[in-house]
Subunit: 170 residues, 2 copies
């Protein structure tokens, strides 16, 4: 295998939590599924993600000043699939999304999301790493979160997983 | 809860694949467990991670020109714990590590690792985001990888998990 193919093989086996990013820089709602979202700093609260230059919706998302990051659980696996599918209108289901009072599109069935403003970007090999500072956090209501039945979603080797008691190590 | 506490609560519930980073900038081997490792670009192959300014070993790691990133499976959970523990000599077990011919310390029992050179860094809220370009990829031999029994390790809400058939969504 080539160097790039070996790299891809290594990362196919590296799991990631699943998020959907949404934004609107003035041309309508855009969104995509990302497995690169990670906390960077708690105080001030900041997170990072990367956007591939090959992504069809990447350029529109990178123009936005604010982004909503939804951290998904197993009950949002269909949203994760929708926002990872090319060539469809990801916002076709009008009941699936709405606008925050600040204007950004968001997914109404996602119990956890964070709204932030872009504070830094860095180019890396045709992709762009984005840092956002969090302005607003929405947490699950009781009965929705992991402690109350919502298992977090993980993507690994082209398969969706949910963490729970059966995946925990002793 | 405060804004920062809400942010922490959201990310406690966001799972991450588990990696151990090792390096030596001339003062001896250093290493730490990271859940922020993510692929950024496949061609050229690049990955990113973030290092907290609060990490005791962060500054030494950030001085290194090259880093080894081990992507861990369930059989490396003790390594993950060791490299996440403060106040110990993480390299005390001489049998657990060796030097690559290029000089970097690496963990001999980790079947997947990538060696790369630092190509960019970006400050973000007291942490540092690092991008490395991959120079060398080590993949599992047959019988070691996910398809042959090694289940990838995931960290979530202070618990270690392993992905497998029981966590896959149908």
């Amino acid at each position: 295998m080539s160097h790039t193919e070996n790299f891809k093989a290594a990362f196919r086996n590296h799991p990631g939590g699943v998020a959907v990013l949404t934004a609107d820089s003035g041309d309508g709602p855009v969104g995509l599924t990302a497995t690169s979202v990670s906390s960077v700093s708690a105080d001030p609260p900041m997170l990072m993600f990367s956007i591939s230059g090959l992504s069809s919706t990447g350029p529109a998302l990178l123009k936005a000043e604010t982004v909503v990051v939804h951290l998904l659980g197993e009950q949002q696996v269909e949203l994760a699939k929708t926002f990872a599918t090319s060539g469809i209108d990801r916002f076709a289901d009008q009941a699936s999304w709405a606008r925050l009072t600040t204007g950004e599109p968001y997914l109404v069935s996602a119990p956890t999301w964070l709204r932030g403003k872009v504070v830094n970007q860095m180019e890396a090999g045709g992709s762009t790493i984005v840092v956002i500072e969090i302005l607003e956090v929405r947490l699950p209501e009781e009965g929705q979160d992991a402690q109350h039945g919502q298992r977090p979603l993980v993507y690994h080797n082209r398969t969706w997983h949910a963490l729970g008691d059966s995946s925990a190590l002793g």
